[in-house]
């Protein structure tokens, strides 16, 4: 059997992985503050058997992941505890392992213990750790991220940080962190807009186009499988002893 069929197989496998990324992005098209994954996790392995071989092969393998950091659309909700990050930055939130990670999710709420947290239950990290809200008060969030309660007392400031110079990457639990693993410093240039929410940054047109492209690529690879089979069959028929 020719190696061709294995090259096609490696490509089919990558198309399947990419299609899963696309489906996950589409499923999160309405998740507040979601950052899409780029579907092209491809890279190639060049294989040349022997110096004088005329049969080099290039296989497709799993590549590195990148996150789409474009900002999503804004929607005005008018709710006091909804904030959208204004500028190229992130809110600091606490992941389940206690480490500060980056998030664009701004649907904040107060937990049973009085801690300010986001819609997926991650506590916000302020300038002095978690932000504790005293009971029975109205809360407002200023454009610089200061959290005030009524009567006017500042109870903390949201942890607003700029995009890390090293870029961002996804962690195994799906959270986003700086590519170098450090927690970025607070950046006064990043603000928030209260009463607004940033939607998911999944671009449906782009995703649909990508999906169609993957689909066509998949078809092309299945075609190669068929060609490989035909080639193999015809070489086998050459060997057949004539009756």
């Amino acid at each position: 059997m020719d190696k061709l069929i294995h090259v096609a197989l490696s490509s089919l496998r990558q198309a399947e992985i990419s299609q899963r990324v696309v489906a996950a992005n589409l499923a999160n098209a309405e998740t507040v503050g979601y950052r899409a994954d780029n579907a092209r996790g491809f890279s190639s392995v060049y294989l040349n058997q022997g110096q004088d071989s005329l049969e080099p092969r290039v296989f497709a393998t799993t590549g590195e992941q990148t996150i789409n950091t474009e900002s999503g659309g804004l929607s005005m909700t008018g709710r006091d505890l909804d904030v959208a990050v204004n500028g190229d930055g992130y809110l600091l939130v606490e992941a389940s392992d206690g480490k500060s990670v980056l998030s664009r999710r701004g649907d904040l709420r107060v937990s049973a213990a009085g801690v300010l947290e986001n819609g997926s239950g991650q506590p916000l990290v302020g300038d002095a750790g978690r932000i504790q809200i005293p009971p029975n008060r109205a809360i407002s969030i200023g454009s610089d991220g200061t959290v005030r309660i009524t009567p006017p007392v500042v109870v903390g400031r949201l942890g607003l940080v700029g995009t890390p110079a090293a870029g961002v990457k996804r962690r195994a639990d799906g959270n986003i962190e700086a590519a170098d693993g450090n927690t970025p410093a607070f950046d006064p240039a990043i603000g928030v807009v209260a009463g607004a929410l940033e939607k998911s940054n999944v671009n449906s047109v782009e995703v649909l186009t990508g999906m169609v492209e993957l689909s066509r690529m998949y078809e092309a690879q299945t075609k190669l499988l068929k060609i490989a089979t035909t080639l193999d069959e015809s070489s086998a028929s050459l060997m057949r002893i004539p009756e």
Binding site: L12, A15, E16, I17, Q19, R20, V21, V22, A23, A24, L26, A27, N28, A29, E30, T31, V32, D37, G41, T62, E64, Q65, T77, R79, D107, R109, V110, S111, A112, G114, G119, S120, G121, I133, P135, N136, R137, A138, T150, P151, K169, R170, A172, D173, G174, A179, S204, V207, L208, M211, V212, L214, S215, Y218, E219, T222, K223, L225, K226, T229
Partner: protein, 261 residues
């Protein structure tokens, strides 16, 4: 490939739930004191296909790795307690709370429930009750021959009794506020129940700091905004379409694989 199908299916399920929330909001557009819900989404677990830091060659490591999302789930539905419009009814026992706070109602089983629906009446004993007949807490008795019932902004109910020209104070309505009212559990009939997440109720007289004031002869209408709900509905429908498109596309790929080779 099968995984991709299941990922897209989580999207369909989540949008389906969201549509149910939106329909419930629209159905309750004329329910007095109704507070609209919002569906919150959360990403599901990520699957590690390539660990960051894995060696790709001698001295070289994979910088970011490869993690693939497995879809979306509806994480919570949240009540949004924005103030609804106040409608004038001129009915003496209709009350609206302008600001935070809930009326306290004693349920038939003796527990206390909370509501923003202030369309109250009197029962055969003269007690102030909700439209379902549950007694408002603290219980206030209004004599049958009471006239000119007045409710102050601080909740005091006064009236003239038995043709007496002297105004008599009959009691004071109290409101309860919660550290986190979004954590209340809706139990139907416009009532809410206290939960661990909402925190313990704090009783206050209407008009106190942090509690709203009472408006007599008014009702608070539902805070559902039709335009917003319609926009959300369109958005949900499009997201649903996208996910079903993903399913049909993946299906086409599978068909291609099984039938054309």
């Amino acid at each position: 490939m099968y995984e991709a199908l299941h990922v897209a299916q989580t999207g369909l399920t989540a949008q389906n739930h969201r549509m149910a929330v939106i329909s419930n909001n629209l159905a309750n557009i004329n329910t007095v004191g109704f507070k609209r819900d919002r569906a919150n989404f959360d990403t599901l677990l990520y699957q590690t296909l390539k660990q960051p830091g894995a060696q790709t060659a001698q001295g070289a490591e994979s910088p970011t790795g490869l993690f693939i999302g497995t879809g979306v789930s509806i994480s919570s539905s949240e009540k949004l307690f924005n103030q609804g419009n106040v409608i004038n009814t001129d009915n003496a026992l209709d009350m609206a709370i302008d600001g935070p706070g809930f009326f306290q109602v004693t349920m038939p089983d003796g527990s206390t429930a909370y509501t923003r629906n202030g369309s109250f009446t009197r029962n055969q004993n003269g007690e102030v009750v909700t439209s379902n007949g549950y007694v408002v807490n603290p219980a206030i008795q209004i004599p049958a021959d009471a006239a000119n019932i007045t409710i102050g902004r601080d909740g005091t109910i006064s009236a003239t009794v038995g043709g007496d020209s002297q105004v008599q104070q009959l009691g004071q309505i109290q409101v309860a506020t919660f550290p986190n009212s979004a954590g209340l559990q809706p139990m139907g009939e416009s009532f809410y129940r206290e939960t661990v997440a909402s925190g313990a109720p704090l009783q206050a007289n209407p008009g106190d700091a942090g509690a709203g004031k009472l408006l007599q002869g008014s009702l608070e209408s539902s805070n559902v905004n039709v335009v917003e709900e319609l926009v959300n509905m369109i958005e949900t429908q499009r997201a649903y379409e996208l996910n079903s498109k993903a399913i049909s596309n993946i299906d086409a790929m599978m068909r291609n694989l099984t039938q054309s080779t």
